[in-house]
């Protein structure tokens, strides 16, 4: 554990202990006239095994205990009491005491978990009673994912309708998660709305479950829930269990999944350049003798150097250790956990991410009716790496691989004392280290505390009031310093080194940010069963406020050595202080009859500070219903007693959700002047400029998302097979747009303000299927899911088009979004003769720049020339896939378990561009893909015969050529992939050994993540989860991990 974490614990120790102590001392015991009951709990079936840690509760009280190692228990209870035996993964069983002093119970495994508790909007529900589209991921699933440092990586392929896209794999990076491709979802952690960063950086070990609310069931979260909600619940101790200490630790090694390859051979590079120059200009200054020297590669300047091997280190380590303690007595339960993670980059051990997390969840009953809880979550995130020019310090090292040419070398005369002046020194990797380049350190310190209380009112049964106060503080400090440095040229004649380049520009910056957030929640809950009728009601008030303060200062220090920033060196200072505030009133009522018919209605009234006071409030109702038709007597009769269909539920939901993130600023409804709109130098003084805000936006309010979902869940063969299907349709109305039917002259000087006028839709289907079973001693489960989600623009307000072509090209009306427009490549010219006789002007220069191998484009409109009018839809312009799917397999035999998870996607395009499209971009390295190209048999003889290849004949850095300046089917690739996520094999020590070493559980495992992918982008050396056209993004890593789970 890092000293910083200890420091943090010291800081918060006192108040936490104060609270805990206070709670402990308030415990009371209730001695009544009871009988003592003993017994044992075992598994059901032929080979009954004792079950330890089974929770036993005296129904209607808070009293309880757990079984010991051998499954035995002892409890005192009234003689007429009912005991409830429960444990995750087993069906809860209730047994009446009836005066017995010994009770032996067998628990059945609950394979499909109909009674599994699912966390939904501000509450929990049995799975069978859910009427919305809600899917969950369990802690067990998450714990098997060791594919990076953040929580998001655990969601790949797990949930139907959740798309996962990780287009950056650097230490500490997160994937982007979308629900049904609806946009960034809302994250709710333990009932509190949080941002994506907070979600990603809680310790995965501390998560008990993740629920994803995909439809109107999210409406209860109101504002900002229109893109769905990810609900995270952290672990809690169980009442009446013995204290358990768990240790989960692993260490792993990472390598890049893929990255573009360049030619690391000076001869190939130079030969290509000679070809390119002859192709372009008819001649080249590169002679056969020169080429020969490169081929031999011995003279200085003619050698080859492999920059990729120089930059990329293999097997970068990643380690994580989590220690947690949990348990509970009759009146208090606790979960305490600390996690330390460290991830290095393949760029070396100076590029790191470290995170320390603590989680402390304590719940206590002060009286029978009054419960309180405290949750504390804290973390320190540190990202550290050498200071490198540019906004993204990880960019230049990657760019260097594509930029640096093979005859360039990092050190002058290969002497590591002298950085070589390669003319573009910023991509000289030899400087990208703490010693020469400088440093950048970005630290976030976050503390989140929730205090909650719950009181059961004495006069109405089933009525509770609850209150929660949440305080969040995040503190960021970023310090960066890019040093000045010299780069040298070696003079062999006198064995001297001359400083001929480098940087005399130091860059020193500091950014500090503070986020303070208060959330207040007050609730009343009513829950009661009247015979066959169950009723639940909730009323709630929620206020949220946040404040963001940020300062950024930039300086040009005179020295590389001292870390402090002085006033006279500074030249920029930015200051920011923003607030936001939202209020929600929430009501919900749900009813079910005999667990057969379910209906739930909720409504939310939200107000956001962002809109003008007259337009602040929005109302967001939703309704959902479910019908378990297998509970109907006539269906039961129809199916008969031997029915394989155990449970079938039809459900539907409709809701209106709101969003205040409509693209306007917080005070756009005000008139006046914006201060600090740049600086003018007047009479030698810097004068801060102000600008008229323009027309106030007073007629904009919430846009509304109307989500419809129809689905069904089923369980068959004693719940061994289960599945669900959903159809959904989200229509958004009131999107920001403009009314164009009144033409306002531009000379007015302002346009009409935007209004809530446009609409769009997102719709699709999804389904999941899983089967679990046993063959002999082998137990296994297989599951899969798939989803399709597309978006369509519906309509704008009376759209106007100049002509029918413009309508075809520019209209979005009732048309799919994500259309990629481009040219259709019909082939490649096979000979100069074919070019000379070709009737269509392809390059706009009468085909004078074309050579055999060049791309032929389809002349769609038949005007004998290729221009913008020949573009048609050729693919998708989105990186978020329209189709997502996942597959999981789990097999266990005795102590050995094996897990294999796969995820995949389709329905998106990659546009091969820049370094991947034309050779020698930026005068840089030659991409290996261009080795397969049209070329002359003799590179220096333009009259020699053409030899065909895949890519057109080379040109030197000529992106303007018709081959390269058009997006076409030649360069656009529609991608489908299936990649292995987790592959894990584990071994648990058998009970007899555990007993000897006094350990409850011990398991070791070997785990691989992202080990391979099947897709159509392999040839380009790019990861299928690509977003950069040139493939330059930091790719995902492949991981090999070994780890251990211990319970003591």
């Amino acid at each position: 554990m890092g000293t910083t974490l200890l420091g943090l614990i010291k800081q918060i120790r006192f108040p936490v202990f104060a609270v805990i102590m206070c709670l402990l001392f308030s415990q009371q015991s209730f001695a009544q006239e009871d009988i003592k009951i003993t017994g044992s709990v075992t598994t059901a079936g032929q080979y009954a095994e004792p079950l330890p840690y089974i929770t036993i509760i005296v129904k209607g009280t808070t009293r309880g205990t757990t079984t010991d190692f051998d499954g035995n228990f002892e409890i005192t209870a009234p003689s007429n009491a009912i005991l409830a035996f429960s444990y995750v993964g087993f069906k809860t069983k209730e047994v009446a005491v009836d005066g017995q002093s010994e009770i032996n119970v067998q628990l059945e495994e609950d394979i499909a978990g109909l009674d599994e508790v699912v966390v939904t909007g501000y509450s929990t529900q049995d799975k069978k009673s859910i009427t919305g589209a809600i899917s969950t991921v369990s802690a067990e699933d998450l714990e098997k994912v060791h594919g990076g440092s953040t929580v998001s990586s655990g969601l790949a392929g797990k949930i139907p309708g959740v798309s996962f896209r990780m287009n950056d794999g650097r230490p500490g990076a997160s994937a982007s998660i979308q629900i049904r491709n609806m946009g960034t979802p809302l994250y709710v952690i333990d009932g509190i709305q949080q941002d994506e960063g907070q979600f990603n950086n809680i310790s995965p070990n501390d998560i008990a479950s993740i629920s994803v609310l995909k439809d109107a069931s999210a409406a209860i979260y109101g504002v900002r829930a229109a893109n769905g909600v990810v609900v995270v619940t952290t672990k809690r101790g169980k009442r009446g269990t013995r204290n358990a200490v768990n240790v989960n630790a692993y260490v792993g090694w990472q390598n890049w999944s893929r990255f573009p390859e360049t030619v690391n051979d000076s001869y190939e590079w130079m030969r290509g350049k000679a070809e390119a120059e002859i192709n372009q200009f008819g001649s080249t200054a590169i002679t056969q003798e020169e080429l020969e020297k490169y081929r031999v590669g011995e003279e200085p300047g003619y050698q080859s150097f492999n920059w990729k091997d120089f930059i990329i280190q293999k097997n970068a380590p990643l380690s994580n250790i989590n220690i947690s303690a949990s348990g509970g007595s009759e009146n208090i339960n606790y979960y305490l956990s600390a996690t330390q993670l460290k991830q290095e980059s393949v760029l070396g051990d100076e590029f790191t991410f470290e995170r320390s997390n603590i989680q402390s969840n304590v719940d206590a009953d002060i009286t029978d009716r009054l419960k309180v809880g405290v949750q504390i979550n804290g973390r320190i995130e540190t990202r550290k790496n050498p200071g490198i020019p540019g906004a993204d310090d990880y960019w230049l090292p990657r760019f260097a691989i594509l930029r640096n040419r093979p005859f360039e070398r990092p050190y002058a005369n290969d002497n590591p004392e002298y950085l070589n002046d390669i003319g573009h020194n910023e991509t000289n990797w030899a400087l990208h280290n703490f010693e020469i380049g400088g440093y950048a350190e970005d630290i976030w310190r976050v503390l989140q505390t929730n205090f909650s209380g719950e009181y059961e009112l004495p006069f109405i049964e089933g009525l509770k009031v609850k209150g929660m106060y949440s305080y969040y503080i995040a503190d960021r400090v970023l310090n960066g310093h890019e040093y000045t440095y010299d780069a040298y040229t070696y003079h062999p004649e006198d064995d001297s080194y001359e400083a001929t380049g480098g940087s005399s520009n130091p860059w020193r910056e500091r950014r500090t940010r503070k986020v303070l957030r208060n959330i207040y929640q007050g609730q009343m809950q009513y829950k009661r069963k009247f015979g066959d009728h169950s009723l639940e009601a909730l009323f709630m008030i929620e206020r949220q406020e946040a404040r963001f303060q940020e300062q950024w200062v930039h300086a040009v220090p005179k020295t590389n050595t001292l870390p402090l920033i002085y006033f006279s060196d500074t030249d920029a200072y930015d200051d920011l202080d923003d607030e936001e505030a939202r209020i929600g009133y929430i009501g919900r009522i749900s009813y079910n009859y005999r667990d057969k018919y379910y209906i739930e209605a909720s409504a939310r009234r939200d107000a956001s500070w962002k809109f003008t006071p007259q337009k602040r409030v929005g109302y967001f109702p939703s309704i959902s219903a479910g019908w378990r038709i297998t509970e109907e007597p006539f269906i039961k009769d129809l199916l008969g007693d031997d029915s394989v269909l155990d449970n079938f539920k039809i459900r539907g939901s409709y809701g209106v959700l709101g969003d205040d993130d409509i693209g306007i600023g917080a005070f756009d409804y005000l008139t006046g002047y914006n201060y600090n709109q740049g600086v003018a130098i007047l009479d030698g003084n810097a004068v801060i400029a102000s600008r008229d805000k323009g027309q106030p936006i007073t007629n904009i309010s919430w846009f509304k998302s109307k989500i419809t979902d129809i689905g069904a869940d089923f369980y068959m063969f004693n719940s061994k097979l289960s599945g669900s299907v959903d159809y959904f349709y989200r229509k958004r109305t009131g999107l920001r747009g403009r009314k164009y039917d009144i033409l306002i002259p531009n000379e007015l000087g302002y346009g009409l303000p935007d209004e809530n006028v446009n609409s769009d839709a997102q719709y699709g289907i999804e389904g999941a299927l899983s089967y679990s079973g046993e063959i002999g001693e082998v137990s296994f489960s297989v599951s899969g899911n798939a989803s399709l989600s597309r978006s369509k623009f519906l309509e704008s307000y009376k759209p106007r088009f100049d002509n029918s072509y413009q309508r075809y090209r520019a209209s979005g009306e009732d048309r799919y979004n994500t259309i990629f427009w481009g040219y259709t490549a019909t082939g490649q010219f096979q000979s100069q003769e074919e070019i000379d006789n070709y009737p269509v002007d392809i390059d706009g220069r009468g085909n004078s720049t074309l050579l055999p191998g060049d791309i032929i484009y389809k002349d769609v409109n038949g005007d004998k020339r290729i221009d913008g009018y020949d573009e048609t839809p050729i693919g998708y312009n989105n990186y978020n896939p329209l189709v997502n799917f996942g597959l999981s397999l789990y097999v266990a035999y005795k102590g050995i378990d094996f897990t294999a998870d796969f995820s995949g996607a389709s329905g998106y395009s990659w546009n091969q561009n820049w370094e991947q499209r034309w050779a020698y971009q930026n005068d840089g390295a030659l991409n290996k893909i261009f080795l397969d190209r049209w070329h002359h048999a003799d590179p220096l003889d333009p009259t020699s015969e053409w030899i065909p290849g895949k890519y057109p004949a080379l040109r030197y850095n000529d992106g303007g050529h018709s081959n390269y300046n058009k997006n076409s089917t030649f360069w656009l690739h529609n991608v489908t992939y299936l990649r292995a996520r987790t592959l894990e094999i584990g071994y648990s020590l058998p009970q007899n050994i555990l007993d000897k070493i006094k350990i409850q559980k011990a398991r070791v495992y070997v785990n691989g993540y992202n080990l391979f992918s099947l897709d159509n982008l392999k040839d380009f050396g790019v990861d299928p989860e690509i977003s950069d056209d040139n493939g330059l993004q930091y790719p995902q890593n492949k991981f090999i991990n070994v780890g251990v789970n211990l319970s003591i």
């Binding site: 004649e493 008030i541 005000l670």
Partner: protein, 628 residues
């Protein structure tokens, strides 16, 4: 037990102790109300500062390519090569229609007029400054678009569903020029005659604007007759020839008012003995510079700095991995006369066609108009204390050239052992961006201060919008057009003698070509060349789309109609022939950079920029510009 309930209620109480609307009302941290804004002169100045910042320049130090178009330079940045491979410009190029800016200036004038919190002295000056900026933008509009709707009051749409009352037709081109001139007359009394004020409107700035505007109007009236196609029947484009003299007279009078000291004592900058350094200093010496009249100013460590030096300083020895973008063309370089006032090509070869060898690469440029080296960094000259290293390769006795692909590359030469440098650290390497691909870099606006090439520091060299030398040239042109060549010769000689030219012009020497030439070399890279080509209707002549070769570039120097459709260069080579008398000397070759494959054609439709379809759609009274 009830006491616990109170604990429970505490957080709810905290949350509800304010009303909902109080909770939702948050104060902005950077917005001033209109009353606050016009309640203090400091904030009025702050609003004015924004209006100054939005002043439209054709070229500016903040956008390096804009200063160096029309083949006076090659742009040594791979992403810009396309400009030298296409055939010219689209009709929409250089268009502007920023009525949002006009509206804000109108609002500024109206709100300031109505304010009772600003004293009259301040108010008068602020109002005059606002009107100066508004007139300046109408001048920009008329230069680029022709006549435009003249909106002098802020208007508001009433949401009645009928916006026809907001439709205004284009004024004539002459009417807009007349407006600029009349505004100048109206405000001049309200502005200070203080030559130390450079960044705000002064009497000098107003007069300089008036002189330039009247001169442009006069020349459009006169030379527009040569291109009758470039006009509209309603006068939105084109000025009647009969008004030429009136405008020229206005121009001459306004220029003479400055020359006579009516606006304070402006003069040519003459502080340094080295005339090239002296000329370069005009653009960066900000202390007591008598020549600058109106500038856009910058200041280090203020947030307002620019990266012109970063983008353009010689790449070798630059503070960063940057520089070298503007490469002035041979076409411009050889336009500079000899000190004797003669047009001569650069002495690259002798009469027999053999190369002339030089010990110092700079010798080729010796004896030229001092403005050459004040404007252009030539091979062998110094910048920031370091000699630029421009040479293209080593030529062996048999004519073979050994060169490299990387700046300052080393190779072995035949018959020698060990490697030697075979190309300059500044290139030129054909096609390699940021090297001097024409053989030259730009010097004008380069900031000689250490650190000016650092991204973290940048430069505070100002951008001069009006300067005294232009006023002299404006006066000379107006006088010439009014048939007073003697007066014109006097003004021209002032400018030329500052450049070190030893022969003086007589009345007989002053021709239209001479006027054109003098402006070309004096005002190169100042954003004025383009409007000169347009108002003389020369643009379609000198940019006629015909490529130029190495032969015809050296002839016809000094002619107003000399073709300049492509930028050419001249490269020094080192001669390698041990034992030969010329071994180690430099000689030059005229080249066309191989990235230059297109040649520019300025179409008649380019004279006035296209008015966008949306503008035409929104106001049916707007007529299109001709030839598009």
């Amino acid at each position: 037990m009830k006491k616990y309930i109170y604990f429970l209620l505490i957080p709810m109480l905290i949350g509800s102790c304010t009303s909902d609307s109080e909770f939702l009302d948050r104060e902005p941290t950077n917005i001033l109300t209109q009353e606050q804004a016009f309640g203090s002169p400091d904030i009025v100045l702050s609003i004015l500062a924004d209006l100054y910042n939005r002043y439209y320049d054709f070229g500016t130090v903040e956008s390096w390519p804009s200063l160096a178009d029309f083949n006076v330079s090659f742009w040594s940045e791979a992403g810009q090569y396309g400009h030298f491979q296409d055939g010219g410009w689209g009709y929409g190029a250089w268009g502007t229609w920023d009525y949002g800016y006009i509206r804000e200036m109108n609002l500024f004038l109206e709100r300031l007029e109505a304010s009772t919190s600003i004293d009259e002295v301040d108010k008068t000056r602020f109002l005059a400054e606002g009107r100066f900026l508004r007139a300046s933008y109408y001048f920009t509009l008329v230069k680029r678009m022709g006549g435009v709707p003249l909106i002098l009051e802020s208007e508001t749409y009433d949401f009645s569903g009928d916006a026809t009352y907001l439709q205004h037709p284009r004024e004539t081109e002459a009417a807009i020029y007349d407006f600029v001139i009349s505004e100048a007359d109206a405000i001049i009394a309200d502005l200070p005659a203080d030559t130390n004020i450079k960044s705000r409107a002064t009497k000098g700035a107003v007069l300089a604007m008036k002189a330039r505007a009247a001169l442009y109007a006069g020349s459009i009236a006169k030379y527009g007759a040569t291109t009758p196609q470039v006009s509209l029947s309603g006068g939105e484009i084109g000025i009647p020839a009969g008004r030429a003299n009136e405008y020229y007279t206005t121009a001459l009078n306004a220029a003479q008012a400055i020359i006579n000291g009516d606006a304070g004592s402006y003069s040519l900058y003459n502080k340094k003995p080295d005339l090239s350094d002296n000329f370069a200093s005009v653009f960066y010496d900000k202390s007591n510079n008598p020549e600058a009249i109106f500038v856009e100013d910058y200041k280090l460590q203020s947030g307002k700095v620019h990266g012109f030096t970063i983008s353009n300083q010689p790449r070798y020895g630059a503070e960063e991995e940057e520089g070298g973008r503007i490469n002035p063309s041979l076409n411009l370089v050889q336009s500079f006369e000899t000190l004797e006032g003669e047009y001569k090509p650069l002495p690259v070869e002798d009469n027999a066609g053999n190369p002339i060898y030089y010990n110092d690469p700079k010798e080729l440029f010796a004896g030229r108009d001092a403005r050459l080296e004040g404007t252009v960094i030539v091979p062998g000259s110094n910048f920031k204390g370091r000699e630029v290293d421009i040479w293209a390769g080593v030529q062996l006795a048999d004519g073979t050239v050994v060169s490299g692909d990387a700046r300052g590359q080393q190779k072995e030469l035949p018959g020698a052992t060990g490697q030697v440098q075979v190309v300059g650290f500044d290139g030129p390497i054909d096609g390699l961006e940021f090297t001097a691909q024409t053989g030259f870099y730009i010097r004008k606006y380069q900031d000689p201060k250490a650190g000016s090439g650092q991204r973290g520091t940048q430069s505070d060299v100002w951008f001069i919008r009006y300067r005294y030398a232009e006023v002299l040239l404006n006066a000379a042109e107006a006088a010439f057009e009014l048939g007073q060549p003697e007066m014109a010769a006097g003004y021209l000689n002032e400018v030329r003698s500052r450049a070190g030219i030893t022969t003086t012009l007589t009345a007989a020497d002053v021709t239209f070509d001479k006027i054109v030439h003098e402006r070309f070399v004096e005002l190169a890279f100042e954003g004025l060349h383009f409007f000169d080509l347009k108002r003389w209707r020369l643009a379609h002549v000198v940019l006629d789309g015909t490529p130029i070769d190495e032969q015809n570039i050296t002839t016809n120097i000094g002619s107003a109609t000399k073709r300049i459709t492509q930028p050419l260069g001249v490269w020094p080579y080192k001669y390698y022939n041990p034992g030969d008398a010329n071994d180690g000397s430099y000689f030059y070759k005229i080249v066309k950079p191989n990235r230059v494959t297109g040649s520019d054609r300025f179409q008649l439709g380019n004279y006035y920029s296209e008015i966008g379809q949306d503008i035409l759609n929104n106001n049916p009274l707007i007529v299109k510009n001709p030839n598009q």
